[in-house]
């Protein structure tokens, strides 16, 4: 009994100390900190973040996967009214551990920097970023917070055609056209892709260098126009860059063009969004051209296509909108995606109809408060027939492939 009282007293004192300690008063809110921009608070540091977890049930294979997909910690610091630092550290799939760790299992996760850049304000509507940053392409690449899109998974097009989240090292300039209210533009120069990583079926995704010792002389230019008018948002963006990430001598031996725009990849997208009275409708189309795919195939035997394209349309309606005006929401949505990840092949490419994909998605997003989302959806995936010539695992070890398959997903997401 005496021990219980002591424990209670200790807990009470700890709680009091916690609430009264000066360090608590140093915790900054977004309103008071990096974002306030007032002269009296020229320097400030702020913490923020987001994360998501998901349970995905494969209805044909009769298996499921549960994972803490990502936890991202944002740390920003304002040096003065002109210069700020933005960083995002991401842990994917919860555990990064080797055999010798105390956890007893090998982790399947990864750690990466999603962003780490300095922002230099030129005037209230123009700024330069330098470091590891995310160029403006598509919807999700820049706007990938899980509470801002419907569906447990990100739209598949914006992972397989536009390889979100796509960040590289470079410099970007963002501004507005002053004579047209609502018209923004951006231009950036970053390191290029690594064609040695291109993998058939995942577009250029595996060719991203993500600021991790990006090799070669390849450079990439990205430009975008983003226009807000009434309840619409329209965006046009283009990327063009080299994809040779090896030194000139090695490139020559592989017959790859080297130099800043050698073995160029060109990506373009056009998208639009309408938001009004609880409705949220978005459409996007994107295409990737790899002109030198035949040479890349000769060098790396990767079955790289010359052309990839896709599009999707999504409509969502907030069933709570009339009562809560977005403060609390229950969004019912549907999305249709189509993509062809080997729409045109070079002479040395091998067709695989699995790369022609359709996704039909329907689900609900419940947000009890802004910044928190509970998601439920059903994904139906339809693809073409796998090319038997590309199946290297003999029967019976060969894993069955279902051209028509359904997935039931449940997830939670937060952003603060």
């Amino acid at each position: 009994m005496q021990g219980y009282r002591r424990l209670c007293m200790l807990i009470s004192i700890s709680v009091l100390l916690f609430w009264s300690t000066p360090s608590r008063s140093q915790v900054l809110t977004a309103e008071d900190s990096l974002y306030s921009g007032l002269l009296s608070k020229e320097q400030a540091t702020v913490l923020s973040g987001y994360g998501e977890a998901a349970y995905a049930l494969d209805l044909q294979k009769k298996t499921a996967e549960a994972s803490l997909r990502r936890v991202v910690l944002f740390v920003g610091h304002k040096f003065n009214n002109r210069i700020s630092l933005f960083t995002e550290l991401e842990l994917e799939n919860a555990l990064v551990a080797g055999n010798g760790s105390d956890e007893g299992i090998t982790g399947k996760g990864g750690i990466s920097m999603e962003q780490a850049f300095l922002k230099f304000n030129l005037d209230p509507t123009s700024y330069i970023v330098a470091g590891l940053f995310i160029p403006r392409v598509g919807f999700i690449n820049e706007n990938h917070l899980p509470t801002t899109f419907n569906g447990v998974d990100r739209p598949f097009l914006e992972e397989l055609v536009i390889p979100s989240t796509w960040r590289e090292i470079g410099v970007g300039f963002y501004s507005t056209i002053k004579s047209v209210p609502g018209l923004n533009y951006s231009v950036s120069l970053t390191n290029g892709l690594n064609s040695g990583g291109f993998t058939n079926g995942s577009g250029i995704r595996e060719g991203r260098q993500l600021g991790s010792k990006a090799g070669g002389l390849a450079l990439a230019a990205t430009g975008s126009l983003l226009y807000y008018i009434n309840d619409f948002r329209f965006q046009l963006s283009a990327y063009a860059g080299g994809s040779t990430a090896v030194e000139g001598r090695v490139a020559d031996s592989l017959a790859l063009n080297s130099g800043p725009f050698g073995n160029a990849v060109v990506l373009g997208d056009v998208n639009g969004q309408y938001i009004h009275n609880g409705w949220n409708i978005r459409i996007i189309a994107s295409a990737v051209s790899i002109g030198n795919a035949a040479v890349i195939n000769k060098a790396y035997a990767s079955n790289t296509p010359e052309l990839i394209y896709g599009a999707y349309g999504e409509a969502g309606y907030d069933l709570f909108y009339k009562k809560h005006h977005g403060e609390k929401s229950l969004i019912a949505f549907g999305r249709y995606e189509y993509m062809d990840l080997s729409a045109r092949l070079p002479y040395n490419g091998i067709q695989n109809d699995v790369n022609r994909k359709q996704y039909i998605i329907a689900g609900l997003t419940y947000k009890p408060v802004r910044g928190v989302a509970i998601k439920l959806d059903y994904v139906h995936r339809i693809t073409g027939e796998p090319n038997p010539a590309l199946i290297v695992t003999p029967f019976p070890q060969q894993i069955p492939y279902y051209k028509s398959n359904g997935f039931l997903n449940v997830g939670m997401a937060y952003n603060f």
């Binding site: 209230p124 700024y127 004579s179 046009l236 802004r370």
Partner: protein, 140 residues
């Protein structure tokens, strides 16, 4: 030939972006912008900037990192919204319908309230008052 193809595709992309920009030039008129210097902790905005039908004026000052959107509610009531996104502090784009963040897609209304995430908090508002000459914005 491949280099030519690349140049052609890049040029099409560049001209496409530039052409779209030029087309949009004709789509709207800019919100009026006034550049003013604060006196102490206040900015005095001449009433004349609110000409007939003008309901929104952007106020810019060298001493502030971002602009202020002055919203006319009636002849004696104005709202002064700080055009800085409460998500990651990016400068906002004001139109005559809503206020947008080009970086991550947040949208705010003219009360400063969040219409669309990722921003979670309303925009900072400065107090205002009116006198014979115009509108006074109190910066603190």
């Amino acid at each position: 030939m491949q280099r030519r193809t690349f140049l052609r595709q890049s040029c099409v992309a560049c001209f496409g972006l530039a052409g779209a920009g030029l087309l949009l030039e004709g789509c709207g008129s800019a919100l009026p912008l006034v550049k003013l210097t604060p006196v102490g902790n206040t900015i005095s905005v001449p009433a004349a900037v609110f000409a007939a039908q003008v309901m929104h004026v952007i106020v810019r000052s060298r001493t502030l990192e971002n602009d202020i959107l002055l919203v006319k509610e009636n002849d004696t009531t104005y709202k002064a919204l700080y055009l800085r996104c409460t998500h990651e502090g990016v400068g906002l784009t004001a139109t005559d319908k809503k206020i947008f963040c080009s970086a991550h897609g947040s949208i705010f209304d003219f009360n400063g309230n969040v219409v669309k995430e990722p921003a979670l908090r309303p925009l900072k508002q400065f107090k205002t008052s009116t006198d014979n000459t115009g509108i006074i914005i109190y910066l603190s």
